[in-house]
Symmetry: C2
Subunit: 228 residues, 2 copies
DNA sequence: AGAACCTACTCCAAGTTGGAGTAGACACCC
DNA sequence: GGGTGTCTACTCCAACTTGGAGTAGGTTCT
């Protein structure tokens, strides 16, 4: 019955698709849209790879596909199987979460800012602010829907809220950081050869304090759990 | 002389390598290490792809490689060319920064937490705290070096500080979010079917406030720039 | 009637990953 | 002196993933 022994384990993207399919059935096109607007901010995938991922769920026995006729062409609707629902649950139950992976070219450009001038750095900060603000604007209507008791899947509002809370904090943090960089940049003659400044020293000291507190806190809670 | 017209543009990873090579010459092995410990938290790449990226810099005329003999085998030392330094500067000067790309499975698991139980969600939060704390521990000695006036490239301390400031804020935010999730989770009977709670409503309202403020602030500064 | 956008995908070259594999060098411990 | 382990210094590869282009029917607006 099961080919589990010969099939390789689904990827996280495939399991996420199974998660969405556990909520309801979707067409392939809807699924790509949902992956983008719902979870794209913490698990971005290209359209192309989503379409191929869905296809692979079927021979693995995790989902079923059926063709629907729409005028002159067809679209594919996917439905999760019991094995698929199982797979999604076992993902959350039996596997360890992978480490966060962050790719922010803006921070990289700040790190290497002395290769160009202060104006170029300012432009990067402005571009980043614009990009982040665009993202925030796109999310606002969804948030407002939820705030007024609407939104899709109201029984899942508690999970959506935690999700949005993360995203809001992340984008808020990027914007704050842009401001901090610009304020510090204003105290420099240019980007190159400045060395340690009062502001930079302050940031390092703050970072050390944050780090130490976090590490100590972690050791405490680990002790408690070990002792109990 | 230049094959720029037939060669495709370097990738961001290659340009980052050129950025590091603009500081000094490095061996291939040192470069992979540097990419990991210095910028890996905002631009993570696998060893394998870094080695192939370096190799490609040479035929493009952006770097030069020479073999050094170390006992019974060789290692490769790279040096940037004028064209390479130029390429790095034009990257910062003439191209727009790409959008942040974040991949945090922990947030995804929270979003789909109703597929499993509260214990599974708690385990994910604990794992995430452990992962993040490990990262912070690894960075602490570097931070302490800089705080005491040491550290590599002291003339670049101002840029390193901004970089570290970003990372500290990011990891701090993740830890805070874990605490928020756990506090909210404590008020639920289980993960499924809870719907909107007081805490969730608060998070949504806060997120809306943050978003609105950010969008308004952006429009204001854009106006100023447009008016001036 | 035409333009523009939405639906519903497919294709592909090129980039990228993660894990395994190879081997020399150096340290340490019994 | 022999074993174990860790660090240096990479290479190889199958599989995964991206981003952009391409195709084509459907709907909406003007």
């Amino acid at each position: 019955m099961s080919k589990r022994t010969t099939t390789r384990a689904p990827t996280t993207s495939q399991r996420t698709l199974l998660g969405l399919l556990s909520l309801q059935s979707w067409t392939a096109y809807e699924l790509t849209r949902q992956m983008r607007v719902a979870v794209g901010r913490v698990w971005p995938r290209s359209e192309a790879s989503l379409y191929t991922d869905m296809k692979r769920l079927v021979p693995a026995g995790l989902a079923e596909a059926e063709e629907e006729e729409v005028g002159d062409r067809t679209r594919t609707r996917y439905e999760v199987t019991d094995a698929g629902r199982d797979e999604a649950t076992r993902w959350l139950r039996d596997t360890e979460v992978s480490e966060p992976r962050v790719q922010i070219e803006a921070v990289l450009r700040v790190f290497l800012a002395d290769l160009a001038g202060a104006d170029d750095l300012r432009r990067t900060l402005d571009d980043t602010r614009r990009q982040v603000t665009r993202q925030l604007e796109a999310v606002l209507p969804i948030l407002e829907d939820y705030a007024s008791g609407g939104g899709t899947f109201p029984e899942r509002a508690h999970l959506n809220a935690l999700f949005m809370h993360y995203c809001a904090g992340f984008f808020g943090h990027v914007l704050e950081w842009c401001d901090d960089v610009e304020a510090e940049l204003d105290t420099w003659p240019d980007t190159a050869g400045v060395g340690m400044t009062a502001g930079a020293q302050q940031m390092i000291d703050d970072a050390i304090a944050t780090h130490r507190r976090a590490v100590e806190r972690y050791l405490e809670t680990a002790d408690e759990e070990g002792a109990s």
